[in-house]
């Protein structure tokens, strides 16, 4: 296999809170290859966003207390803040969930979209603006030259997210991290933005990390998939295999608990019982065991590692690691 573009190994990010230490990211390892779209799915508080922020070194007030983020031969957790700034926005760009708050309300959109080329490319204002206009047109903003003079509040939510994507792409980064890019948008606008991200991936070959809680979005966008729960990766593998044959009870249960638009008959949903865990006070052993329908004695004592299960998947589960198939009514 070729050298990965980005390699995260055994990453640990913690937050100090009044209630105690929270291990938001607890030993996460994965690789991102050139040109691929990797999905990270999980519920709120599972550590998917903190993982992305830690790659960008934007995790504060959290602290990275262990692990490596290797990108182009350097460990991003150890480079100076100055060197990190050269990477951030130039080689790795990030777009956020809320396009409302991630654009500065007092600067014109064109100026902001051109900022990365002024900062990183040393371009003058005129050249930066003209490249911003080109990029705004490319992401589907109609009459881009005129709209570049608008302020963010004059843009709709979908247009703001397009502008954020345009800003991320002006420096033709190798990695694009999209953190819930469509969660705040209506479904028809979500479809537009996902379509745009697919185009960007095809046209520029930008490797993308797509963070979402929406399993449907992952199914249509990502070749590979990582499932997180309580700060850890519980399952990873090719998207088609994980969906067809999940190897972790959390993934298995989650897929059965969501209503599908293409369901033929009305069957009651099969919810995951219980609540997501409190990160300050995690259960011993596997964090998912109190909600797991397959649990065995060992699950409440020992924490399973993420190991190969089957040909293409990895799972952190004692049950599937011992060869048991996940089946149930």
């Amino acid at each position: 296999m070729t050298q990965p573009l980005l390699e995260v190994s055994d990453l640990h990010t913690v937050f100090s809170t009044k209630e105690g230490m929270v291990k938001a990211v607890d030993g996460v390892s994965f690789e991102l290859h050139a040109g691929e779209t990797l999905g990270i799915v999980g519920e709120s508080g599972c550590g998917k966003s903190v993982t992305a922020l830690s790659i960008m070194r934007l995790q504060r007030p959290g602290r990275i207390v262990g692990g490596k983020v290797m990108f182009k031969g350097q460990d991003l957790t150890r480079v100076s803040e100055y060197e990190m700034r050269e990477v951030r926005g130039k080689e790795i760009a990030m777009i956020f969930q809320d396009p409302m708050t991630s654009l500065n309300p007092v600067y014109r959109v064109g100026w902001q979209v051109g900022e990365p080329t002024r900062l990183h490319g040393g371009w003058d204002a005129k050249k930066a603006l003209s490249s911003a206009v080109t990029m705004l047109a490319r992401v589907g903003i109609p009459s881009a030259a005129a709209r570049a003079k608008d302020y963010p509040h004059q843009f709709s939510g979908g247009m703001r997210q397009r502008a954020m994507i345009a800003m991320g792409l002006t420096t033709t980064p190798e990695v694009l991290i999209a953190d819930e890019p469509t969660t705040a948008l209506d479904v028809t606008i979500q479809a537009q933005i996902l379509d745009l991200l697919r185009d960007v991936n095809r046209e520029f070959g930008t490797a993308t990390i797509l963070i979402t809680h929406n399993l449907g979005v992952v199914a249509g966008m990502c070749q590979r998939l990582i499932v997180m729960y309580a700060g850890k990766i519980v399952e990873a593998g090719p998207t088609t295999d994980v969906f067809a044959n999940p190897k972790h009870p959390y993934t298995w249960s989650l897929l059965r608990s969501i209503p599908r638009l293409d369901a033929e008959r009305h069957e009651p949903l099969k919810p995951i019982e219980g609540l997501p865990p409190n990160l300050v006070d995690l259960p011993a052993g596997c964090s998912f065991h109190p909600r797991c329908v397959f649990k065995v004695d060992r699950c409440s004592r020992d924490t399973p590692a993420l190991l190969q299960v089957g040909d293409t998947q990895r799972s952190a589960c004692w049950v599937t690691q011992s060869g048991t198939e996940l089946k149930g009514a």
């Binding site: 519920e43 992952v218 998207t239 249960s253 608990s257 969501i258 949903l269 919810p271 609540l275």
Partner: protein, 340 residues
């Protein structure tokens, strides 16, 4: 049950076979003020001529994108808002402009479950007082009987009755939504408007709440207006689904009919925009991606409101408002050039 309270106000004989709630040509407009004098310069046509029937015991799903007027319609249906025009009939009675004691009596028949379980519970009240408030307001029970009732309601929504002494901040989003549901049930309503009741919840919790709502419906013979933007959830829980766009109903049909054979181009594009959690299905799907954004409800387009984004729009669509017409039994759509 509260039948007795409203029965004397009935203007015509209503039977359980008639629609529980009938909305006719309903309009809710909000004024837009501008300038130093805050003069009204226009109106947001949030709901603009809606006809809808909700049958006793059914769940009618109402879907649409943000700003389409679905929440406003839900609020006007239970008289949390006074309509600008049109009528609302509940059990055969015109409730469009009732007031005072009469409206209070009506409030016992209706309840609402809100989207945000964090904002819709008073942080300074105990769970018991939150659920007890509607009981007190309507004078339904006192003392020990009230306490028993609160505990019973908590049990019904799957929570420990001892939680009555705790405060909302001690609970997770899913548990708070259960408290909100218990409060809605406190008046023993017949009709509940559920306004995006699961969209703020974690994926693994959503199914718990959907199942709870379904169980409560069959247990207490409830009628739901289920408002949501997620068509897969709405299709799952609803008997019939109404699709709304810019203040108007575009299509009404059973969930299965709507999915198998949408007639309105907006419904078609809405369906194709919803991701299906199955990579094999997703890779083969034909996507019908809409251009542009929703037009402004202050100045809605002439004729059909969807025409500015519609791939099938012709001149006629700008000139006349398409009426909601029947396409076979139980299926209506408002389009001059419907999908096949």
């Amino acid at each position: 049950m509260p039948e007795a309270a409203t029965a004397k106000h009935l203007t015509m004989a209503w039977t359980a076979n008639d629609p529980l709630l009938t909305v006719s040509d309903l309009k809710v407009w909000f004024p837009v003020a501008s300038g130093v004098m805050q003069r009204t310069v226009g109106h947001v046509h949030a709901v603009d001529g809606v006809d809808l029937e909700i049958r006793a015991g059914e769940t009618l799903g109402l879907v649409g994108e943000s700003g389409c007027g679905k929440s406003t319609l839900g609020r006007a249906a239970i008289r949390l808002l006074k309509p600008t025009g049109g009528t609302v009939h509940f059990k055969g009675e015109d409730i469009t402009s009732i007031r005072g004691e009469h409206l209070r009596a009506l409030r016992r028949e209706m309840a609402m479950i809100f989207q945000d379980p964090y904002a819709s519970l008073d942080p300074r009240q105990t769970v018991g007082d939150i659920i007890g408030e509607p009981i007190d307001v309507h004078g339904l029970a006192k003392g020990k009987e009230r306490q028993d009732r609160i505990r019973e309601l908590l049990r019904v929504v799957g929570m420990n009755p001892r939680f009555a002494d705790r405060y909302p901040h001690e609970f997770s989003g899913g548990q708070r939504q259960r408290i909100g549901i218990a409060r809605a049930l406190a008046v023993e309503p017949t009709f509940i408007v559920c306004d995006e009741p699961i969209s703020a919840l974690d994926v693994s919790i959503q199914a718990q709440i959907i199942n709870l709502l379904e169980n409560l419906q069959s247990k207490f013979k409830l009628t739901y207006l289920f408002i949501a933007h997620d068509l897969s959830v709405v299709k799952h829980i609803s008997n019939r689904v109404a699709v709304m766009y810019l203040g108007k109903i575009m299509e009404v049909a059973s969930g299965q009919q709507l999915y198998r054979r949408p007639r309105h181009p907006y419904t078609g594009s809405l369906l194709s925009a919803i991701p299906i959690p199955d990579p094999k299905v997703e890779l083969q799907r034909k996507r019908l991606i809409l251009q542009g954004d929703v037009a402004s409800p202050v100045n809605p387009p002439s004729g059909c409101r969807f025409r500015t984004r519609c791939p099938r729009a012709k001149e006629h669509c700008a000139e006349e408002v398409p009426p909601l017409e029947s396409f076979g039994s139980e299926h209506k759509a408002a389009c001059f050039y419907p999908l096949d």
